[in-house]
Structures are given as structure tokens and as C-alpha cells.
Amino acid sequence: MFPEALEFHVAEYVNNGINWLLHTYAPTFDSISSAISFVLMSIQGGLTAIPWYVYIILVGGLAWMVSKKVSLVIVLSAMLMLIGIFGLWDLAIDTLAVIITAVILSLIFGIPLGILMAEVDHAKAVMKPILDGMQTMPSFVYLIPAMMFFGLGKVPAVFATLIYSMPPVIRLTDLGLRQVPKSTQEAALAYGSTKWQLLKEVRVPLAMPNIMAGINQTTMMALAMVVVCSMIGARGLGQEVLLSINRIDVGHGFESGFSIVILAIVIDRITQGFARRWDPNKR
């Protein structure tokens, strides 16, 4: 037994801290919340306005673009159809809106942070443990404060998804930039590149395959959060899974779970295809 005398709890301080934040920065959180909400609603509005068959054609077209294989075009389009056939189309669009919002925000913050991490060694030292924490901290733990700050629904869902899905793109951007061969960078410097030119003309383009892999990973992580997010009231495929658990409805659970898998596969194949096209070594 661990001696009781050595026990010390920080829970109370965390609670007080959160409450203090909540009181002092309520307007800030409100404006963040409405900003996220605005982005989300715009994306969702756009996605809902597109008729279902356009998605099928679009996915088919993109699959053809990245692979030039008829089989992939057929498989991906048919799988997407299946979501509609299960009667889950609108919910899938809801889920997609949350994911796209989270991924866009992840990239907006993640790629510059990744660049910072690669450029400044101190930044890397500070960020590494934070990223580890973001990835390993059980998501329920930050779901509660997210809900307290941003209320119920999709906005805290986007926030929680952001925390969980941003680390891969940061890490892979950093890794990609660090892997750019020294000899290539040296040549660029020898011709009088400034630091910014070196980054823009050489390092980022050469790190692109890694950055694309990071985007792909981030998207996959975001998809993994949909069921968790449904617990704080984000409508979508995740909510159906949650309902099925509550009702012990295995069949319905399978339909909605499988729809999430379909979304993942479609997005994965397409983003990976683009990652491959970006790879300068395969030209």
C-alpha cells in the first residue's frame, strides 16, 4: 500500500482552475465557440447542398485521378452508395462536416507548429511532451472541460477532435522537414537562398510526402473520435453507434459502424493517392 500520508490531490486545483478560466474568459470562449461554429456551419451548409450522386461521381473521379484503376473507382463509389442504402446518408454528412472542420483547423495550426518544431530545437523540446500528452490522454478527460467551455453539440466535438487529431500532422511535418537531405539544403544555401526561401523552395516541397502522410493520419484520427464525440451530443454516425450500444441493437450498430469504416477507407485511399503524387522521388 502506498502510504496515505504521502497522498496529495490536485483534482480540486484543477477544478478551481477550470472554474476560474470559465469565469474570467467566458467571452473569449464564446467568441472561439462562435468562430468554430461559423466554420462548421458553413462547411455543413456546403456539404448538405451537394446532392448525393455528386459525391459518388466526385469520389469515383478522384479515385480515377489518383490510381487510374477502374476497380478502385467501382469499389469506392459502391461503398459510398452503401451508406445511403443503409439510410445513414444525412448523418454521414453531419459526421463529415465535423471531421472536415477539425482537420482544416488541425492543418491551419498543425503545419506551422510542425515547421516551428523543425526550425527551433527548443520548441521541439517543449512540444514533444505536450504532443505525447495530447495523444495518450484518454479523450473523455478533456471531453468534460470541452463541454464546459463550449457547451453541448458539435463545437466541443470539433475541439476535442482537434486535440486528438492534430499531433500526427505536427510530428510528420517536423519529421519531413528534418529529413530533407543536407546536401540539397547546402546547395540551395550556396546559391544565396535566405532562410525563408530555403523553407519555401526546398524544405517544404521536399517534406511534402511526409506532410501529406500527416494529413492522412490526422484525418484517420479525427474519424476515430466520432463515437466519443457523440457522447457530448454531436449528431452523426457516432450517435447511431452509441444508440445501438444503449439498445443492444447489433445490426444497427454494424450498419453505422461500417459506414464510419467506409468513410475512413474512402478518405484514406484518396488522400494517400494524393500523397503519392506529391512524392518527388516517384516522378
Partner: protein, 301 residues
């Protein structure tokens, strides 16, 4: 002498773990650094002068400090002590901005591993230096095409470097350097990664280009044959020091020490054999003789 193209004065480079300042005058410190694993003394008190329009070859085995030396000239590596004057300007005291300008206008460099950008086409690679200098797109494309023609790569503009052979990639590297029109060309073992036949072809190509361009070329190699072929002046480096410098034929005929002597003895034998063969051939056919090797061996004997 003020009008040397490159003048290096007592240059030192000591690689240390934390890049701390080292007093190179302190003999005991240098000795202790040599014995420890903490630091590497790569260049020790090198002084040399390169005249405008001259091909100056620095020859030495790997680890002799020659690659460090060439990188110090445009401060890809910061020297520990000493001065470097290029066209009269002291490179060692330049700030970042001056250095960038200096690299853009005074020098162009060719690398052993080419250093090409795999995501850019051949043409875009040749344009690179002009692009970062801010030359307009039209002008740089024009100049890049002329430069590619000079190295015999017309028609390859839209290929990517990875689809080219080593020799062709280095032609791109050379085109990228000469398109800059800078007075000084730095070449760091440019042909070392190439097959012997291609290497020879590229050396001839460089000699031909130099006849047109009359640039100042600072050329680093570990290959004595190459040094003799392309160099007007030559310096032999060993363990960070220049052990001998002068005309290639002088070095061949009067090696300063055992190290240089061992270096050149194969070459001397080779030339002697070629000379004897040439004499035999003179008897049988007076029209066919290798004049170039004859010229050198006259110096030797």
C-alpha cells in the same frame, strides 16, 4: 597581392561539440584537441592565392580537409580563424545579408552529390539560382536554356533529375552554376561519383567550357589524374595542411615530401611507360605520338 581572385590567409577550422571559440595560436590546445575525441581539427593554417581566370586544384585524400576548405570560401562552414578575401572582400566578416548577396553574385558551386531539387525539372533546377536572385521568369528561362545547351542537355529541359544518369545530373549541376555568370566557380569533387569514362568526358567538357568562360575555378578532388588534367595550379593537402603547392608538373617532378612522392609515384610510372611507348612509336610511326604526356615527362626527367 590585391588582385587575386581568392586569397586565403592562415585559415583554421576546428569542429567542436558546442562550436566554442578556439585560440588556434595555442599549440598545446591544438595538440590536446587532436588527441581527444571531442574535436576535429579539419583545416590548419591554410594560406593560398588563386589568380583570376585560373583553375586551382586542391588535391587530397578524404579527411584531408579539402571539402571543409572549399565550404569555408562561401561560409557554408564558418572558419574558426583566418581570413578569406574573394575579389578583395573579406568573406569572414560578412553578416547574413552581405553573405547572401555575395553568394548570389560572386560564386557558384558544383557539388559531388549534385544537390539538385528532385521536385523541379531540369530547367527549373538550372533556373534556381536566378529565381532566388529575383530574375524575371522570361529572362531566367532564356538564360537557363542557353546554359543547358552549353553543357549539351538541350531537349532535356522537362525531365526530372531522378530520371537522368549521374553524368547528366552533374551536367545539370554545372549548367546551374554557369548560368549565374558569377566570376568564381567552386567545384567540390564534381566528377568523383561518375564512371571513369564519363568522368574523363566531363573533365574534357569542363576544359572546353573554361576555354570559353575564363572563370576562376576552385576545384577540389582526390584524383591526381583529374588534378593534372584540369588544373593550372595545384595544392596537395594532408591532414588539414597544404604540404605543397605550385604547377602540377613541378609537383610531379619535385615532390616536397614522402607523402606527395607516394601520391605521385604511380602517375610518374604511368607517364614514363607512356613515354617509352611513345618513343617506340616514334620509330615506327612519326605522326602518332602522345604530345601531352610527353610534355609532362620532359619536366620529370
Amino acid at each position: 597581392m590585391k588582385n587575386s581572385a581568392i586569397r586565403i590567409q592562415d585559415l583554421w577550422k576546428v569542429y567542436t561539440r558546442n562550436d566554442e571559440d578556439i585560440d588556434v595560436e595555442d599549440q598545446d590546445l591544438i595538440t590536446s584537441l587532436d588527441e581527444s575525441d571531442e574535436a576535429v581539427v579539419a583545416v590548419r593554417g591554410v594560406s593560398l592565392q588563386v589568380q583570376p581566370g585560373e583553375v586551382f586544384v586542391v588535391m587530397g585524400l578524404s579527411g584531408s580537409g579539402k571539402s571543409t576548405l572549399i565550404r569555408c570560401i562561401l561560409r557554408l562552414i564558418n572558419p574558426t580563424a583566418g581570413k578569406i578575401f574573394v575579389s578583395g572582400e573579406d568573406v569572414t566578416v560578412m553578416n547574413v545579408k552581405e553573405l547572401t548577396e555575395f553568394r548570389r553574385h560572386q560564386t557558384a558551386m558544383v557539388f559531388q552529390h549534385y544537390g539538385l531539387l528532385p521536385h523541379r525539372t531540369v530547367l527549373q533546377n538550372v533556373e534556381f539560382g536566378l529565381k532566388i536572385k529575383g530574375v524575371s521568369e522570361k529572362e531566367r528561362t532564356e538564360r537557363a536554356k542557353v546554359s543547358l545547351e552549353k553543357v549539351g542537355l538541350s531537349g532535356w529541359e522537362n525531365y526530372y533529375p531522378n530520371s537522368l544518369s549521374g553524368g547528366m545530373r552533374q551536367r545539370v549541376g554545372i549548367a546551374r552554376a554557369i548560368v549565374m555568370d558569377s566570376p568564381i566557380l567552386l567545384m567540390d569533387e564534381p566528377f568523383s561519383g561518375l564512371d571513369p569514362l564519363i568522368r574523363r568526358e566531363m573533365q574534357d567538357e569542363l576544359i572546353r567550357l573554361q576555354e570559353e568562360m575564363h572563370k576562376t575555378i576552385f576545384f577540389v578532388t582526390h584524383d591526381l589524374d583529374e588534378a593534372m588534367r584540369v588544373g593550372d595550379k595545384m595544392a596537395v593537402m594532408k591532414n588539414g595542411r597544404i604540404v605543397q603547392q605550385g604547377d602540377p608538373s613541378d609537383i610531379l617532378s619535385h615532390p616536397a615530401d614522402d607523402y606527395v612522392a607516394r601520391f605521385v609515384q604511380d602517375k610518374r610510372k604511368q607517364l614514363q611507360m607512356a613515354d617509352e611507348r611513345a618513343k617506340l612509336e616514334v620509330v615506327s610511326d612519326k605522326n602518332e605520338k602522345d604530345t601531352s604526356s610527353k610534355g609532362v615527362i620532359d619536366h620529370v626527367s
